[in-house]
Amino acid sequence: EPEVTQTPSHQVTQMGQEVILRCVPISNHLYFYWYRQILGQKVEFLVSFYNNEISEKSEIFDDQFSVERPDGSNFTLKIRSTKLEDSAMYFCASRGGSFWGASTDTQYFGPGTRLTVL
């Protein structure tokens, strides 16, 4: 069964450093998302991406964050200058659908990248 993959599984970084989290969505999916989950808390939306541009972003997704789909398969989240409060599990998700209509499918989550900022 196709699945979303993410690398690395765990990233430790120093405050102020840049990190890039990578995701390979399910092939043929059109919609891509990043969510994060601080330990013990709920899953929070960061950004959605469709047709090579951001569809929506949350207030968490400030200028320090960016997303990119550099080729036909990868989807990346970059944090330019990490802060202690960025420590969380980051999940990538993807969803199928048509170019012209709504998707009645769910979002499939990857295994996550645990980011620890020291």
């Binding site: 059109l30 919609y31 998302y33 969510y35 808390q41 709920k42 899953v43 929070e44 939306f45 959605s48 991406f49 469709y50 569809s55 929506e56 949350s58 999940f91 969803r95 659908g97 048509s98 209509g101 709504a102 998707s103 009645t104 499918d105 769910t106 979002q107 499939y108 989550f109 990857g110 295994p111 996550g112």
Partner: protein
């Protein structure tokens, strides 16, 4: 506006039933149910679309009352493997890029 889940936690013995509720103050297009085990990604259980349908998946089923903006997840004859945190994620629109807004979760513990 995040959906409200209840109860926050449930402890069951194997074989018992449970109901987890998810309610929203906003009109919803769909409700998605996920189960998450500690340290793992949320795993999709089922999606309910506007229309008030009920769905089943083995001994886990769910309903969606569109008028009340409520969904319930029913777990019958619970098994040890059902332990985990259950999240409902809601969508207000039908666009493919709609985000999921998650509730705080319901922690389910099934004991032997």
């Amino acid at each position: 506006q995040q959906p409200v889940q209840s109860p926050q936690a449930v402890i069951l013995r194997e074989g018992e039933d449970a109901v987890i509720n998810c309610s929203s103050s906003k009109a919803l297009y769909s409700v998605h149910w996920y189960r998450q085990k500690h340290g793992e990604a949320p795993v999709f259980l089922m999606i309910l679309l506007k229309g008030g349908e009920q769905k089943g998946h083995e001994k886990i089923s769910a309903s969606f009352n569109e008028k009340k903006q409520q969904s319930s997840l029913y777990l019958t004859a619970s098994q040890l493997s059902y332990s985990g945190t259950y999240f409902c994620g809601t969508e207000k629109g039908e666009g493919g890029s709609e985000k999921l807004v998650f509730g705080k979760g319901t922690k389910l513990t099934v004991n032997p």
